[in-house]
Point group: C2
Chain length 411, copies 2
């Protein structure tokens, strides 16, 4: 691509083009960080107005039933299920990702009695690793958390392993792990698999049941656009649900929460994975945003994500060829998620300069510039413009001075 | 009191009278269920408008720093600390009550190595009991959850007990337990104490450090008016904090969450008790509501709570003397929280009739009518009017017919 008009032409033919107007995006910003915090939708803004002013303000306690708050973990879970290849009754939305990881890892150890090892790869997101460390330390004895390189996972799966925990899309590089293949390898070794979908749900087609996955978690505030700290979701394959006695046995996971019995009796099915009262405002925003996403074809989302990546990577490699960017993300579409990461020795300073000029991505130490592609609101012309800004920064004398000043300040 | 005008006169002299206008209360409703879900404040409504439209909508990812989202668990925790007799740095706000109970009970078992017993009373709120059951079952071995009657607590405290878990105000009867006395008894036995403040924070003065309490949790959506499912808070006395390795070791409890290290290193102090990303919308509403409460004198709140109770109980016992209500809450102010509970064989039907007529309390099986008193927005005249409605329901022929119809339908 050699002209901005070519990008505009791609936008004109984009089957997802009409979705952009459903987002309330700030003026003058090209937002390439929807993989950290998705933007506000008109639907979420309107739904929050209703939940706050009418349901809470006017309906008060009666809205738990009248407005359906009580069943939101399930109704929203069933919507998310459609995005990740799960059946109704296999997903609930509540708590944060870390808490849900704790619930599911402890469940996995129960489901594989006699096996005491959790395996993960060292590229996994830190909170996944921390939760596994905390749980195995708490349980003590011969419980072990085994951390290996991603390519060494198959060799690490032996008869002591209860569960393999993987994040499908690596948060730094964007590498997409092979859900079908790794799940099969784990099952062949007698282990379960827990998939973290934080960087895949809403960004690419996911088929948990197609892969025979056992457990999964995912985040509500990235590609799902649920708002800051939106609750996470968790998936338990139907075949496992009733064999789990929840580690965090809270009242919303009880068979009859409002019978106020002194003894815990887990609810049937996925409901037993609930524990605390849900943060209704935060979950309502996510619910509204998911409706927007479900109106799109996830295959269109994936196709456009690939197109945005190709355009961005291609433009950086041609127009910015002299500036020392190194592509870290896998080049092949089948091997990556919906982001591009470049390494650069001045990565931090470059990202600061981009943000000052309205191009928002993020930086991951030590040297990664990370740009996320959310096809519902990003246009090809935005990608062209973003690389234009990047080129301008790198090519100007002002930037060279800025960079040296930053280097001097840091050293 | 024999006339409504006497109630109005009390309102005229009420030092808290001006607070009512800071709440957005529905027309025609007398809300006696603020102990289940506090109402919307103007401050929360305005703060949410700002967080949604400006901070999220315009500021996007940058609001984590620019709007202080990252430090809300601590800044809000420090505000709540003022209500419960804690120091800055001893309280954080995050997750739900059940999850926080799990964190603190597992911490207590660590802090008392060799002791494996959790003790609680059978009047405690069910989720407290369930979480203790789930934790002891998960840990196995000789871990035990010992459930006794409230009056048998002292006898149950022996050298095997790691922690006594009590809810300060019983959710059914409103009975207020002796925090100072029970904490001392637990300490004398070498055990820690975990106080659940769900029905006391914001309703009466609490002095955790004055009682030398070790651990505490509490709810954001009752007397604190944080909105449906608002995050809970947790307290760890400063002397214990750095001895805890968190059971749920999430990234927000890491010493450097954004260093993305593979190994967990707990943050210094209370921060290590955090795990997941916080639900910003829900926590912002609570933050705004707490500011309203902190502008009031908690002793005025307590005094008025006692006055509202006396008026309600007195009017029911005089004007409704013939209708079979039995006071379940302790009569002495020093022995109860901010609610009144009456037993009545037709309790469920009576509460339905009250709610239809705009007097909202709640019902707890098998036969309890429960009315909560939140002195910031309730007036003495509301109490007069509520009992007036109750009297009218009980005294009319229509109610007798309704009651018999309900009895017939049920049997």
């Amino acid at each position: 691509m050699t002209t901005r008009q070519q990008a505009v032409t791609l936008d004109d033919k984009d089957p997802l083009a009409s979705f952009r107007e459903q987002f309330l995006l700030p003026e003058g910003v090209i937002y390439l960080d929807g993989n950290s915090l998705g933007p506000l939708t008109k639907a979420a803004s309107e739904r929050l107005r209703q939940v706050i002013g009418e349901e809470w303000g006017q309906g008060l306690i009666q809205s738990w039933n009248a407005a359906g708050w009580h069943v939101m973990p399930q109704t929203l879970g069933n919507k998310i299920a459609k995005l990740i290849g799960a059946q109704p009754g296999e997903v609930v939305c509540a708590d944060g990702t870390s808490v849900n990881l704790f619930k599911l890892l402890s469940a996995a150890l129960q489901l594989r009695p006699g096996r005491r090892v959790i395996v993960s790869d060292d590229g996994n997101f830190p909170t996944d690793l921390y939760v596994a460390q905390g749980l195995t330390k708490m349980l003590g004895g011969d419980h072990e958390f085994r951390l290996v390189g991603a390519d060494d996972i198959p060799a690490a799966l032996d008869e002591t392993v209860a569960v393999l925990m993987m994040t499908e899309v690596d948060y730094r590089s964007g590498r997409l792990h092979d859900m079908v293949g790794l799940t099969k390898k784990a099952h062949d070794a007698g282990a379960l698999v827990l998939w973290d979908l934080c960087h895949s749900a809403g960004a690419l087609p996911v088929d948990l049941n197609g892969a025979r996955a056992d457990l999964a978690v995912g985040c509500g505030y990235k590609y799902l656009n649920g708002g800051p700290g939106a609750p996470a979701f968790l998936f338990v394959a139907e075949r496992h649900q009733n064999a789990i006695y929840p580690a965090i046995a809270g009242w919303h996971g009880h068979a009859e929460p409002f019978a106020f019995e002194p003894g815990y009796r887990p609810a049937d099915g996925i409901d037993r994975m609930l524990c605390s009262t849900i943060p209704v405002l935060s979950i309502a925003a996510l619910d509204a945003a998911i409706d927007v996403m479900l109106a799109a074809d996830i295959n269109h989302i994936r196709d456009k994500s690939i197109g945005l990546f190709e355009l961005f990577a291609g433009l950086v490699e041609t127009r910015c060829a002299d500036f020392g960017f190194q592509l870290v993300s896998p080049r092949a579409a089948a091997r990556r998620g919906s982001q591009v990461s470049f390494a650069h020795q001045d990565g931090y300073a470059i990202m600061q300069a981009l943000i000052e000029r309205g191009v928002i991505g993020d930086f991951r130490a030590p040297n990664l510039l990370r740009f996320g592609f959310a096809p519902l609101y990003l246009r090809y012309q935005d990608i062209w413009d973003a690389v234009d800004v990047l080129h301008d920064i790198m090519a100007t004398e002002a930037w060279r001075q800025e960079k040296y000043a930053i280097r001097k300040a840091v050293t």
